[in-house]
């Protein structure tokens, strides 16, 4: 049994539905047609190793999430004591190290390309914000180690955080609060912002080289004269 929820657009000439679901669907289809969302061809200037580091960053993030989930399932008595626990704990740490290394190389590449050109400001901004939030996620991770290192870091950080006033609600000496931020709030934020960043890359494409960009802008300003018939 089905219920008619409004006019349909499948039939030619039919009036377009103004329901929010239909409008959201049309906007999503317009912004992300399937061939743009999952393209199989890219511009020639993408053939560079520098573009690999964005993908490596996403892969490292996936490993951080996967190993973090395993640690959450098994618990501290496993990752502190058993050999397998030590291994997964180390995988979690080293995938974070790889994540930041790849992300910073990606950032260097995009900075020198001025990758915010051509209405790509939001793509750049989401990258910067995801980097900043990732620093917070890593910081709370160091506070959640339950060893002398985490004690040292938290006691060193508390004065700086308290000096900003944020310490009133964000107490780095509160282990439970830092653990919750590390395993719930910040990972959700990083995944959402990084996902938005990737979608914006799909939406606007990669930034063209400077020479190509200048040629296009000249063509826009002064279009070539038409040949006489």
């Amino acid at each position: 049994m089905s219920v008619d929820t409004g006019s349909h657009t499948d039939e030619p000439g039919a009036e377009e539905s103004r329901q929010w679901t239909a409008r959201a669907r049309r906007a999503a289809e317009s912004a992300f047609p399937p061939d743009r969302l999952l393209p199989d061809r890219q511009p020639a200037y993408m053939a560079s190793w520098i573009y690999v580091f964005g993908v490596l960053t996403v892969v490292s993030l996936a490993w951080v999430i996967i190993t973090g989930c395993v640690l959450a399932i098994m618990g501290p008595s496993w990752w502190h004591v058993s050999t397998a626990g030590h291994f997964v704990n180390s995988l979690h740490l080293w995938s974070v190290e790889a994540f930041f290394s790849f992300m910073v190389i990606h950032l260097w590449g995009k900075f020198f390309m001025a990758a915010w050109r051509g209405n790509r400001r939001l793509t750049w901004a989401t990258g910067v914000i995801s980097f900043a939030v990732s620093v917070g996620a890593a910081f709370t991770g160091y506070l959640s180690q339950q060893n002398f290192d985490s004690q040292w870091i938290s006691t060193q950080a508390k004065d700086g955080i308290n000096a900003t006033g944020a310490g009133a609600v964000w107490n780095v000496l509160n282990f439970g609060q830092m653990l919750m931020w590390h395993i719930v709030l910040l990972p959700i934020a990083v995944v959402i912002i990084a996902g938005l960043h990737v979608l914006l890359v799909r939406r606007h494409g990669i930034v063209p080289p400077f020479a190509d960009d200048e040629r296009k802008s000249k063509e826009t300003v002064a279009p070539p004269a038409e040949e006489p018939a």
């Binding site: 061809r41 560079s48 190793w49 580091f53 190389i105 260097w108 590449g109």
Partner: protein
């Protein structure tokens, strides 16, 4: 175990860290080496040619 012992013999991490002091800049040797390696990877990523499949010029 053998591999672990071999690596531990090459790089002994049991001990206080080494630091570089340059004016107000202070950085551990380990962090400095990581930054140098990242710069090296960045330069290689720009310089090295990317393998391209023949017949794909777009």
């Amino acid at each position: 175990m053998v591999l672990g012992a071999l690596l531990a013999a090459l790089i002994n991490l049991n001990g206080s860290g080494h630091y570089i002091h340059w004016g107000f800049i202070q950085i551990s040797v380990a962090n400095f080496v990581v930054i140098l390696l990242m710069i090296a990877v960045f330069v290689l990523a720009i310089v090295l040619p990317f393998p391209r499949r023949k017949g794909r010029d777009e």
